[in-house]
Assembly symmetry: C2
Homo-oligomer: 185 residues x 2
């Protein structure tokens, strides 16, 4: 269960409420782990009950009060322990690949639109990552000699960028293949 660990990492980087975590899972942390607010609230509650997190009620003006979570000693040791355990290289789940192979039993040309849609989504995501990289790591405002934490954040972001670039190149390949199949029959 890496959601708990992703939450621990995010709260170590900066304490925050369930709502704020849900935001982060749409941004930075969400580049490599997704979660909805429903899931987050449930897990936060459990982790607090288990003593992994501390909560603090923060009254706010002009906004509803929030519960600010931070990592307790137990949470830190849980994370440390997980970091020292080996994990399995993840198994892939790729719907679009299932569709592409399924298209052999249907109309392959009908998939072109869908693949183009995915291409646009990945183009957007890549632009978003690159903007983030410029803002946080390679731009004028970024520190010249980053600490270990920033270096690690950056290498993870570079992974996201490499993934999106690879995916776009592959989607080009898929589109070329679909066009070829359409013109051949």
């Amino acid at each position: 269960m890496a959601l708990e660990h992703a939450i621990l990492v995010s709260l170590l980087e900066k304490p925050g409420s369930g709502y704020e975590l849900a935001r982060r899972f749409e941004r930075s942390i969400g580049y490599f782990w997704t979660a909805t607010h429903q899931q987050i609230y449930r897990v936060l509650k459990r982790m607090e009950a288990d003593g992994r997190l501390d909560v603090r009620e923060v009254p706010q003006q002009g906004r509803p009060d929030k519960k600010e979570y931070s990592v307790a000693a137990l949470g830190r040791t849980a994370l440390s322990q997980w970091l020292h355990e080996p994990i399995e290289p993840e198994s892939v789940r790729h719907d679009l690949a299932v569709k592409i192979r399924g298209a052999a039993f249907d109309d392959p040309a009908a998939l072109i639109r869908e693949v183009e849609r995915h291409h646009r989504a990945h183009t957007d995501r890549l632009a978003h990552y690159l903007a983030g990289e410029l803002r946080d790591f390679t731009g004028a405002g970024a520190p010249a000699t980053p600490d270990a934490g920033r270096e690690l954040q950056h290498v993870v972001l570079r992974g996201g960028i490499a993934y999106e670039r690879m995916t776009l190149a592959w989607l080009d390949d898929v589109l070329a293949t679909l066009h070829r199949i359409r013109s051949e029959r």
Copy 2:
């Protein structure tokens, strides 16, 4: 739920038993969708009850009897319908990236072994994919003018190869970063 659809595609390519499907999910289909035999048997039973699959008891000699599943008319239309529905570009779940960011709060150097282990696993997987490509698509025994089905299988496999290559390059980047961090402090 793409498991149902992955099963439909696999059974359209070739009918087979739950056991055989479980094998395939460790090989070809498993390149982009994983499932264990427990899951497969459960889903097969449900799909048969829903009329999407036909079953045939096949007596065997020297082996236990098996139930051979094949796609029924209802299954074909279900697949066709799914192929025409748009799906969301998948959300990523990447444990190792969580670990890498978490390492900032622990000992980054301790991750080097783990990353090296992943590197080896991906090297093996790439070799496996490349061997499959040579055997089925680019080698001497492969047909010179493949049909649409084979072309689509090949482009999916090329995606797997591209993914493994990208991952290996990124893991090199991660290792270089971890070594740099270790030597800097």
